[in-house]
């Protein structure tokens, strides 16, 4: 074994490393770094439809000083990230959790910008016989059929916005979730399954088990279209399954990132005509159905059914954002 050969080996391994690192530096530096870097933590259902990736270049073209990044997390984690000071604003869909975010003083200036509906999906054979019922009756029946061993329910169980919606539906139907979870069928099997996973994984679990679950439209459509699942819509849209997306800024007094102005610009942008008009038919080509309904135009008809529903579901004290949680809001609430 010659010394030369050994040295050559180490040299070559070193050379490979240098090449890799050099390549990386090249790729990393080939994009501009001088811009203000806005970080938005967002719910997965919003990010994974790619709608934010479509908004990003539009916003950056209009505001060349900013570079926007999205961190895709569940609503619970997205709020935690913002509280830790690692994001400038949040885009989420869980009024209860948003309220908490405002009340702790970390969030200010909440605005609604879009809505759509959750659906309950299940196997086509519908073993519980709940098709086209209203959500309350459907859950009631799913519970009794579940205990009888005829149906199973899969919950996200991950503290996401969808999970919190699901918990809200059970509670509104008069159930105590902790009690439900503890109840098993006569043979001791669980009928209420907690996945602890994202929407796609939860849908796949429900598909394998021929169970029912609550899902957002976009994730369901994508998985159905890709052939990952065979579940069908059992309970469609209605007042109870409303899903409202809100933007909340991080309180500049609590958040050390110092990007409040940029975050406010982004908020104004998604409330503006460009984004609101784009939402009208976003996703139709890919999914065969639109994914989001813009919220701002609905305000032109304040007496409509949908505005009543949203006010009841997602307003606090009759407003998107009570006075005490507004901060340097400019003309956001005019």
């Amino acid at each position: 074994m010659s010394g030369f050969k050994i040295n050559k080996n180490f040299l070559l391994i070193g050379a490979v490393l240098v090449l890799i690192i050099g390549g990386g530096i090249y790729w990393n530096n080939s994009k501009p770094q001088v811009k203000e870097h806005l970080i938005i933590s967002t719910t997965t259902s919003l990010y994974e439809t790619s709608v934010l990736d479509a908004i990003k270049p539009m916003f950056e073209a209009e505001n060349p000083g900013y570079n926007v990044s999205f961190i895709s997390q569940g609503t619970g984690l997205a709020i935690q990230t913002a509280k830790n000071g690692d994001a400038d604003m949040i885009l989420v869909h869980s009024p209860g959790q948003e309220k908490g975010f405002l009340e702790t003083g970390y969030g200010v200036n909440r605005k609604l910008f879009a809505y759509n509906f959750f659906i309950i999906v299940g196997p086509e054979s519908d073993p519980a016989g709940v098709k086209d019922m209203n959500p309350g009756d459907a859950l009631q029946k799913l519970y009794s059929e579940g205990l009888a061993g005829n149906a199973q329910w899969v919950s996200r169980g991950d503290n996401s916005g969808t999970h919190s919606k699901e918990k809200g539906l059970w509670t509104a139907t008069g159930f105590d979730l902790d009690a439900i979870k503890a109840e098993t069928t006569e043979s001791g099997e669980t009928w209420y399954i907690e996945a602890g996973a994202g929407m796609t994984a939860t849908l796949q679990l429900a598909n394998e088990k021929e169970a029912y679950t609550l899902t957002d439209m976009a994730t369901y459509l994508k998985n159905y279209k890709n052939g990952n699942i065979e579940l069908v819509t059992i309970v469609g849209q209605g007042k109870e399954t409303l899903n409202v997306y809100a933007a909340v800024l991080c309180n500049p007094e609590e958040n050390p990132r110092g990007m409040y102005d940029g975050a406010q610009l982004f908020m104004e942008y998604i409330l503006g005509d460009d984004v609101q008009e784009m939402l009208v038919d976003y996703g139709f080509e890919e999914f065969g159905s639109t994914l989001f309904k813009p919220w701002v135009p609905e305000l032109d008809t304040p007496d409509s059914e949908i505005v009543q529903w949203v006010e009841e579901y997602a307003y606090f004290e009759g407003t998107e954002c009570p006075e005490e949680y507004r901060h340097l809001s400019g003309n956001l609430y005019d």
């Binding site: 070559l12 490979v16 998985n223």
Partner: protein
């Protein structure tokens, strides 16, 4: 259904490679860079450290070895979570601004793979005859020269240590997710992109990216093996 996703994945992977898809290239190079830099850091610290542990007698030496051996199996998500709380703005090291950067991910991965580097190099050195270093010393070599001689003798074990370290960093998901947050165009690497596409339900694309990851690992290991002339590799 799943089989269809795999075959879709293969053809999609071929398409992405042949068309040199810009996003995929970017993500792949970022993966290589992150893991490569992590390996470099871990080697710079781990090589001298393991020589000292393997060749010196000092109190607590066995405990140290035990700790490094145990940490080889640390869950990436645990380490990622721990590092996130350190690097977060509200954490003690928040002012370093390493969160959501490739540098931060590299440092995290370096910490992850340091136990692999150290443990593997120690066992490579220890597997060589202890008489060698006595002999070298008898011949009048200094401590440093003795270390170099032993490392040369154990080189195939040492390069295995580095390759394994790199592979672990290249294929890990937890730290990249917690510290990088999978930001498009900034911190997205192969593993986080695979996780994202899977959670979107785009299983074909997930498989495609997975095949690219495996292909890179195979290629790198093949090249390094060739460079060693097939000796002991």
């Amino acid at each position: 259904m799943s089989w269809q996703a795999i075959s879709e994945g293969i053809s999609e992977a071929l398409r992405l490679i042949l068309s040199m898809d810009r996003t995929v290239m970017e993500i792949t190079f970022r993966s290589l860079y992150t893991a490569g830099f992590a390996t470099l850091l871990s080697t710079l610290i781990g090589l001298p450290l393991s020589v000292v542990i393997a060749m010196k007698e000092f109190p607590g030496r066995n405990t140290l070895k035990f700790i490094f051996n145990s940490l080889v199996g640390i869950p990436t998500v645990t380490l990622g979570l721990f590092l996130y709380t350190l690097l977060s703005r509200s954490g003690p090291l928040g002012s370093m601004e390493l969160l959501y950067t490739v540098r931060g991910m590299s440092i995290g991965q370096a910490i992850l793979i340091l136990p692999i580097t150290v443990s593997f190099i120690i066992s490579a050195i220890e597997s060589k005859d202890a008489e060698l270093r006595d002999l070298t010393r008898t011949l009048g070599a200094s401590e440093f020269e003795t270390s170099i001689a032993v490392l040369r003798e154990a080189y195939s074990g040492v390069s295995l240590a580095l390759v394994s370290s790199f592979n672990r960093a290249f294929a890990e998901l937890g730290i990249a997710t917690m510290l990088g947050a999978n930001i498009s165009g900034m911190t997205r690497v192969l593993t986080t992109a695979i996780a994202l596409e899977t959670s979107k339900g785009e299983l074909g694309l997930s498989f495609a990216l997975s095949f690219i990851l495996l292909l890179v690992v195979l290629l790198l290991n093949y090249v390094i093996r060739k460079l060693q002339g097939g000796d002991n590799a």
